[in-house]
Symmetry: C2
Subunit: 479 residues, 2 copies
């Protein structure tokens, strides 16, 4: 009886596993999709919890799905057919002045040229943004409330916009009030103001390794030094490494992209965020948190921000709608905690005010609903595009290539065989009218010489796939 029951169970879990496997193969469950919880699947399939658990373990062993701690089970990106992951970064232990500026210019310049395939800057296709609806909202405002729009909207910025952001902050694990927010010309300005509020020239700021080149550029432009901290490709900045660095260095601030970091796509687990905040609060070191990618989670839950654990007001949370709604509107914000007054003052001399109509339109967009529906569509696209990019890299790039497995965001971080110079690869790709972001941009110490970052936020087309194949071919030549 017992044996028979076990045999029955075996049959059952194999059936469940097979059904899921087929859903993955057909694309009904795309790479990165979160499977129903064990309890949900048990209800859905009319089988016991343990049967589902066994099915999931079987699929995990086959490399079709993967378990993520405290998060659930996910379809692996193109199972068996993607590159292994890069390893934890090992930056030098000293702070360095930054000089990435000039090399970055090439990326921005290429972003202006519609003839160049945009695998460089992390810019989304307008088709993936709520372009028409936002245009209609702006047109109505421009017709009906021109007086409001032409006037200065002095810091802290447009009240209804701050109210909408505050409302959404519940979803980030915070409960910000409109009074705690200052609007900015995008997250770039928010990060710049944060850095200026807490650090003065010559100071050292600890950053992820690799770190977003825009941030490194801001650090460079402000005469600060960057201290790169070892960073895990999935879990983000390594706290033990940070702790050790803080013992050796006087650090004015720590800057982290906690959710779907750029370029690694790492998402710091909640427990680590809590630990990071308390580790820094104990030392009275401000944390600058850049959360521009937080809404672009592939899993079902929006990850919290570290700011959610901020009891002392030492976290400066920066965000924007540039990755989700409209980069050209230049609408971002900062929740500067105890640095609010200083940030507000700096904002005056940085750009006086945030554009009024932009703020009015984004506020109305958020107020009138549909943002969450839009985000679901956008995330589905990004998930698929990141998966396709990962598969294309596996197919076209040299043996030995590694790539991250981001759980959100819109970029893929690719480690090429050691011989391949990313800067040379960038040069050759540009000749083929393709722009990529070479690894050394993401490091104050010019590391990651054989890494590149690929933008996955463009609609996947045969032309795009062919561009990736071309980059792969060029990489082969250099390998």
């Amino acid at each position: 009886m017992k044996a028979q029951s076990a045999a029955l169970k075996l049959k059952l879990f194999e059936q469940v596993a097979q059904r899921i496997g087929e859903a993955v193969a057909s694309g009904a469950l795309p790479p990165g999709a979160r499977l129903p919880s064990v309890r949900q699947m048990s209800d859905q399939e009319g089988v016991s919890v343990s049967t589902v658990l066994m099915a999931y373990m079987q699929l995990e062993a086959e490399g079709i799905i993967e378990a993520r701690p405290q998060s659930g089970h996910y379809v692996r990106h193109a199972p068996r057919d993607i590159c292994p992951e890069p390893q934890m970064s090992k930056p030098p232990q000293s702070a360095a002045p930054v000089s990435v500026g000039a090399a970055v210019a090439k990326i921005y310049e290429a972003a202006r040229d519609p003839q160049i395939v945009p695998l460089g800057a992390a810019v989304a296709s307008p088709e993936l943004l709520p372009t028409r609806r936002l245009g209609r909202i702006l047109a109505a405002l421009a017709r009906n409330e021109p007086e409001a729009g032409v006037s200065y909207d002095m810091p802290p910025g447009f009240l209804s916009l701050r109210q909408q952001i505050a409302r959404r902050s519940f979803g980030w694990g915070c409960a910000l009030s409109a009074d705690e927010l200052v609007t900015t010309c995008g997250a770039s300005e928010a990060v710049q103001l944060s850095l200026r509020a807490v650090a003065k020239p010559g100071d050292t700021v600890a950053v992820e390794s690799p770190a977003y080149y825009g941030t490194l550029q801001a650090i460079e432009a402000l005469g600060l030094k960057a201290l790169e901290i070892a960073t895990h490709p999935r879990h983000g900045m390594e706290l033990s490494a940070l702790d050790a660095a803080l013992k050796r260095h006087k650090v004015a601030a720590v800057l982290v992209v906690t959710n779907f970091s750029n370029p690694m796509g790492a998402c710091m687990p909640e427990e680590r965020k809590r630990e990071l905040v308390s580790l820094l609060a104990r030392r009275s070191i401000p944390l600058i948190e850049d959360d521009v990618y937080g809404d672009l989670h592939f899993g079902s839950a929006r990850p919290k921000v570290a700011k959610a654990f901020d009891k002392q007001g030492t976290v400066l949370l920066c965000g924007s709608v540039s990755k989700t709604i409209a980069p050209g509107f230049r609408v971002g914000w900062i929740a500067p905690g105890r640095f609010r007054e200083r940030v507000e003052l700096l904002k005056f001399s940085s750009s006086m005010a945030t554009p009024t109509f932009s703020q009015m339109a984004i506020a109305e967009f958020l107020r009138s609903g549909g943002f969450d529906r839009h985000l679901r569509m956008l995330r589905r696209h990004l998930l698929i595009q990141v998966g396709k990019m990962a598969a294309a890299v596996k197919q076209h790039f040299p043996e030995g290539t590694r790539a991250t497995r981001p759980e959100g965001g819109s970029v893929l971080w690719v480690e090429l065989p050691e011989r391949v110079s990313a800067l040379e690869l960038q040069r050759r790709a540009l000749q083929a009218r393709i722009i990529i972001a070479p690894g050394p941009l993401f490091s104050a110490s010019q590391r990651f010489e054989n890494f590149i970052r690929l933008n996955c936020a463009q609609l996947w087309t045969p032309a795009l796939e062919s561009a990736v194949a071309t980059v792969g071919r060029l990489a082969h030549q250099l390998a």
Copy 2:
């Protein structure tokens, strides 16, 4: 015959003088208006040049008109009924770190409150701006070209806008090309980027005395020091004082509002601009020129910019449409000369890009004509409002009050009797729901304790006049 002819001449010039006097009295020739040139008047009236000259001399002696060197004759502001002018400033001879920030915040804060009479920030009534037309332009763009508007417009910024600005630069005495321009989030960002491009923390920047508080705030926020240079209320920065200061101090840059300075309203004569540029070029010191008020000349000719005399590319010219079209659009620009590359790089980490729709709308506004017509209307209003403000100050303020006689721009700089504390006056005025800008904000060394600046860019109404009367009454209490 000769005697008779002289008698006739006498009669003639008196007739001409009387006719002009009547035109002034009736308001047909408002305060600040430029009279026809002697030659034009001679043709118009059918009298000889010398007759006109005598008429003008008569009117000058009566205090009805005034001659301005190399510029012509102008109707005096409310002749006989305005205050004497303040004298040349005498700043200390040492550079000082700046701390105006906190006091400035009060002005910006008040600017947000529609219940407060806005005599503080130099902000125009939306009724004086081309609000409806700009709204229609933006609405059409938002409907017809939403894809363009939501996308990033990377530095150097929107090409058609740069082309339009370049086209207008001919009127400033320059012949800039679109390639020489970088668009910015208003002139505030342009000045901030200029300062960062040419000076590093700890460096000294020479400024006018008094100087615009926003500029002092930027200097403070960037950790620079300000060296105040004696400034003439009509002719701007005193070049001999600057020359002497440059011999004593290492100066990283000189920052001047060459046309209708803020708060004095001084306009540097063309010859002095030329001299200023060559004086600095000889020493390889960059000149940051803030020309936000240049289009607001009360006389017939648009004054040139110092950049017009820049042969070595060491002048960084900053401008915007915030005083003439739409402050809330945040559209400014910089012609950074030889510092273009550095300014462009700094722009990326300052705010990444200038808002796209704002740039598109302003470009279309400039392209489609009507800007010059609008400027004529705006200047006429400002001229009248500055005149009315000067008359109201004369009428309501204590004996011994002095006031500038700006030939353009939109502010009046008022020197109160020495006993009057401008900061206390600001406090009491704010209790009466009126905001003014106290003198110490305009100085790194907190001078001008008994000065205030009055914004004249609001439509003149009985309520506004009554607010000025209230400020006068409060000043009487403090005198």
